[in-house]
């Protein structure tokens, strides 16, 4: 069936994520404003990060005025394009003891891969692999969403943050919109999320964006954007919500 998608004008990664966001809006009443709050909050974080690409604050008005890419996604719902590199050293806890940098301990990990998004009989748009990954990682770490101090979530789009929060149990399925709309993800909020600005405003280094910021926070090296860091959740996605993996990290040995 090569060409069926192009024949419908269905191109790029923006399309499936717009379709997923629309489905969530239709099923649960999620609004454009609720997506916008995520974009504005992450930009507020980015203003505090010396390594963020986009450091000028934005307002909800800026969000709504940013051009459509594919409705319901504005430009400011979409991640950046960045050049850069990130390296992570993984070792035993023992070997990390005399390293120059403070260690960040892996408490738990998980993954969930729903696979082919186009297959019928799935709710791929609104229920992601994060659900399975969360269960595994929380069980391994011996923690739950109520214990998480800070989230570093893969945020290729604002919508990805919203649906990921639901699948990690921070709120019920469908309630991501009302959950985020009070600004709790931004600076000063009760659930600091994407504290370096994320992929929307910080830099787009794929899953290394949330992972790198999780390690910066875990080490206590966040400077103006440092938050409480006892339990750090870092997540990564691949494809169009086809693949998902996560780490639960902490500065403390478990």
């Amino acid at each position: 069936m090569a060409g069926l998608y192009a024949a419908a004008g269905y191109f790029g990664a923006n399309t499936p994520y717009a379709l997923a966001a629309r489905r969530h809006m239709a099923m649960y009443g999620t609004t454009q404003d609720q997506l916008g709050v995520i974009a504005v909050g992450q930009r507020a974080w980015a203003t505090r990060s010396p390594i963020a690409q986009m450091r000028d604050p934005i307002t909800m008005e800026d969000y709504h005025n940013s051009r459509w890419i594919i409705d319901p996604l504005h430009l400011l719902d979409c991640c950046l394009v960045s050049n850069g590199a990130v390296a992570v050293i993984v070792s035993s806890a023992e070997a990390a003891k005399d390293m120059r940098q403070p260690p960040v301990y892996v408490w738990g990990m998980g993954q969930g891969h729903p696979g082919d998004a186009s297959r019928h009989g799935t709710e791929w748009e609104t229920e992601t692999g994060a659900k399975i990954a969360a269960r595994t990682a929380y069980a391994m770490a011996g923690v739950g969403p109520e214990d998480v101090s800070v989230c570093e979530l893969y945020d290729c789009y604002t919508y990805t943050v919203l649906v990921t929060l639901e699948d990690y149990g921070f709120c019920k399925k469908g309630e991501g919109g009302p959950f985020v709309e009070d600004g709790k993800l931004g600076p000063g909020g009760s659930l600091p999320t994407n504290t370096g600005g994320g992929e929307l405003s910080g830099y787009y280094m794929w899953g290394m964006t949330p992972l790198s910021e999780a390690i910066i926070q875990g080490r206590g090296q966040g400077g103006d954007r440092q938050v409480k860091n006892d339990i750090v959740l870092a997540t990564g996605n691949g494809g169009s919500l086809n693949y998902h993996a996560c780490l639960i990290l902490s500065p403390h040995p478990n």
Partner: protein, 136 residues
């Protein structure tokens, strides 16, 4: 080359999908169906992704479905689509279950909503016909 002279990208039938495209040219929406477990296959493929059987038949679908989700495209990815922007990209969930990427015709983008009932109609090109959908 101006935008007007660039055609939209059109699919090419391959061995697995030929009955789908032949059906479209004849005004019929044809779907592959597993002979072993009855599961529908779209896109068409050699093996059933439920039971792995390689046995199948082609059956005519009703042509009716509902809008599962849609977006309205403002970004120019292909010059052949430039003149139609903004255009809708729609996933129709067929009565039989499979989901088809397509476009709605005969409706303003502002009037599209998730769950609306639609029916297939075929947009004919020289060598191929494309399934599009209109509101019922």
């Amino acid at each position: 080359m101006t935008q007007d002279t660039v055609a939209k990208p059109l699919p090419e039938a391959d061995e697995a999908s030929k009955p789908f495209w032949d059906g479209a040219m004849a005004g019929r929406l044809m779907l592959m169906r597993c002979s072993a477990c009855g599961e529908w296959r779209l896109p068409s493929r050699q093996h059933c992704d439920t039971c792995l059987s390689d046995k199948f038949t082609w059956e005519q679908a009703s042509g009716r479905g509902t809008v599962r989700t849609f977006g309205v495209m403002y970004q120019k990815y292909h010059p052949g689509w430039a003149a139609e922007m903004p255009y809708n990209v729609t996933i129709v969930e067929l009565e039989e279950g499979p989901r088809l990427p397509t476009n709605l015709v005969g409706i303003s983008n502002d009037d599209i909503h998730v769950g609306m009932p639609v029916v297939v109609q075929f947009e004919e090109h020289e060598d191929i016909a494309l399934p599009k959908f209109r509101p019922i």
